[in-house]
């Protein structure tokens, strides 16, 4: 500290200058009105900003995953399947190549992967390790708005992932009907929400990670990935385990993708079931997450 600082100015004057120099342009009442209205967006904004901190991972996953899977499954495996004369029925009598058949499933899977990444350790860590939820929770934001903001931010990440993935599908010629095919981006996002939001609600309740997340990965994500009509039509599975597909958001999301991507035909009622089931799971998960966040942060 310099001589001048030591002798200069009364503490009160310094305090006034240093602390209250800049007054808030909003009164607390005005702040509360704004936050009640837009709080979820404020938190989503921050969520996306923080994502930039691991932006490289987001980008590498978004670009790397489709490349790896499309070369591995779509090109490698497809050459085997297609030369063996297996035909993938589009439902209306026509057939499609294996690459076209598997592409909507790969896209839907990518959304599920992001969902399990963003709704497990990050959510639990926000309560337990980094405690990132407690700071904003002391601001005018409500606990429910933290959930809403997370859902919005997570939606943006899903959009980045599925959008990039779709571009690669086009490049690889994996979409027969791009005119409706691009809507797959949204069916995949819906699938990601249907899986991610219930998972978020679950993670918000966990006090300790005793390997539950590894179990989720091994006994939920992997089986869903394998038995949801991903690599082969669900009908080729024995009836006894076909139910795995029926309860799997991945199957419903994939089937929607197939309709959009190559005009896979199925009864309209079944399509309605796909949409309704995914929407229901997502909304139930969202509501539960709001409840669990509010309870845990209000302790």
């Amino acid at each position: 500290m310099t001589e001048q600082q030591l002798s200069g100015g009364t503490p009160a004057a310094d305090a006034h200058h240093a602390v209250l120099g800049l007054r808030s342009p909003l009164t607390p009442e005005q702040t509360a009105v704004r936050v009640r209205r837009f709080g979820a967006f404020y938190y989503a904004d921050m969520w996306i900003r923080r994502m930039r901190g691991y932006g490289w991972t987001v980008l590498m996953t978004a670009v790397g995953t489709p490349l790896v899977y499309l070369f591995g499954m779509g090109v490698g495996l497809a050459s085997l399947v297609d030369t063996n004369g297996a035909a993938f029925d589009a439902g209306d009598g026509t057939t499609v190549s294996y690459l076209v058949f598997v592409a909507p499933a790969l896209l839907a899977t990518a959304a599920i992967m992001v969902a399990s990444e963003e709704n497990t350790y990050t959510v639990m860590g926000g309560f337990k390790w980094h405690r990132t939820y407690y700071g904003p929770n002391a601001s005018p934001l409500s606990s429910a708005q933290l959930v809403d903001g997370h859902v919005l931010g997570f939606g943006v990440r899903l959009l980045i992932t599925t959008g990039t993935y779709f571009a690669f599908l086009l490049i690889f010629g994996a979409v027969e009907q791009p005119g409706t095919g691009w809507l797959m981006i949204f069916s995949a996002i819906l699938g990601g929400m249907a899986f991610g939001l219930p998972l978020m609600a679950f993670s918000a309740k966990l006090e300790e990670d005793k390997g539950q997340f590894a179990m989720v990965q091994r006994f939920i994500v992997m089986p869903l990935f394998l038995f949801s009509g991903t690599f082969f039509p669900l009908e080729s599975l024995p009836g006894a385990i076909r139910w795995i597909g029926w309860i799997s958001p991945l199957w419903h999301s994939t089937e929607l993708g197939r309709i959009l991507s190559y005009g896979h035909t199925e009864p309209a009622a079944l399509t309605a079931v796909h949409v309704a089931y995914l929407v229901l799971l997502a909304l139930a998960g969202w509501a539960l997450a709001r409840r669990n966040f509010t309870r845990r942060l209000g302790k």
Partner: protein, 321 residues
């Protein structure tokens, strides 16, 4: 969610009450964390909650902070019930939690900007305000640093800077200096004192008596969820202790036996395993009385009574875990 159409106006005079609690109670299952406490805090006052671990200080702070709902009783902050008007109450406050919860994914300055956004504040205000607060918290040269590279004291100062981003009139500080070294504590005290001078109402919990004496105009001593005493530090010392204390050490084995021979000296006598304390208004006179009885302690010390004496008298010397 309640919608506010007309905003309540609170008169802002020096004597207006900003926080009022009546029979405030918080129960977890069968455990009464806060067991019916009442207090009022006028604007501009520096008000302390003192108590051992588990006394219910943090729970009280969370209820005032509008993040934890009360089980029963009345509570109002700026005339508003935090259970009903959570966002309105929190918009009035700056909060420094017991455990730092800075955003480690963001840089130092960005932590301030991000937090300000939660209040819906515009960037045109937040940018210069963040710089002003970094200056205030002596962190200007750390603006671009990663949060995890900061020392404990720096993180604490950043947390205080963050709590001021919305220009609050009330600041809640839950054990602001726990775990800091003396240098860091003194810097913090200085900053808090400046805020107090600038008219900010400070509500702080602490179990450091020197901190309470430095910063609090008035305080309550809380134990097991209830208020044991209330007053200014000086008044509490007057009321619950003597002006001075004589500390005598006769050796661990002899303290108890010697204590019997000291009866009658001073106002009160307390025998501890390692020393005997004589509470007296004139310490030197008490010490002379000790020697005149032919007793010669290994060491003796006459000191002023402190808040610590009051605290230990009111909350006991047994260890609370």
């Amino acid at each position: 969610m309640p919608q506010i159409t007309s905003t309540p106006t609170v008169p802002r005079t020096a004597s207006s009450t900003v926080i009022s609690a009546r029979n405030l109670r918080k129960t977890y299952g069968t455990f009464n964390a806060v067991d019916g406490i009442s207090f009022e805090v006028p604007a501009g006052e520096s008000f302390g909650l003192l108590g051992p671990n588990g006394a219910g200080k943090s729970t009280t702070m969370k209820m005032i902070g509008g993040v934890s709902s009360r089980t029963s009783g009345d509570l109002s902050i700026m005339g508003l019930d935090p259970d009903r008007y959570g966002p309105e109450v929190r918009a009035h406050l700056g909060v420094v939690p017991q455990q730092d919860n800075l955003d480690e994914d963001l840089r130092v300055r960005d932590n301030l900007l991000a937090y300000g956004r939660y209040f819906g504040l515009p960037k045109s205000y937040l940018q210069p305000k963040a710089d002003e607060l970094l200056e205030f918290a002596q962190l200007a040269d750390k603006a671009g640093a990663r949060v995890d590279s900061l020392s404990g004291g720096m993180k604490r100062r950043l947390t205080i800077a963050r709590s001021l981003i919305n220009d609050p009139k009330i600041l809640l500080l839950d054990e602001p200096t726990t775990g800091l070294d003396p240098q860091a504590r003194h810097i913090l005290w200085d900053r808090l004192f400046r805020l107090k001078e600038a008219g900010v109402t400070l509500i702080l919990t602490t179990h450091y008596m020197d901190e309470a004496e430095q910063l609090c105009d008035r305080l309550i001593v809380v134990d097991k969820g209830a208020i044991m005493a209330e007053g200014s530090p000086a008044a509490l010392i007057r009321e619950h202790s003597t002006r001075e204390v004589v500390e005598l050490r006769f050796g661990s084995e002899r303290n108890t036996t010697v204590a019997r021979e000291l009866e009658g000296i001073g106002e009160r006598l307390e025998t501890l395993p390692d020393r005997v304390l004589i509470y007296a208004n004139d310490g030197e006179a008490a010490l002379e009385a000790v020697s005149s009885r032919g007793l010669h302690p290994i060491t003796s010390l006459v000191r002023r009574s402190s808040l610590e004496d009051v605290f230990l008298r009111l909350t006991g010397r047994s260890l609370v875990d």
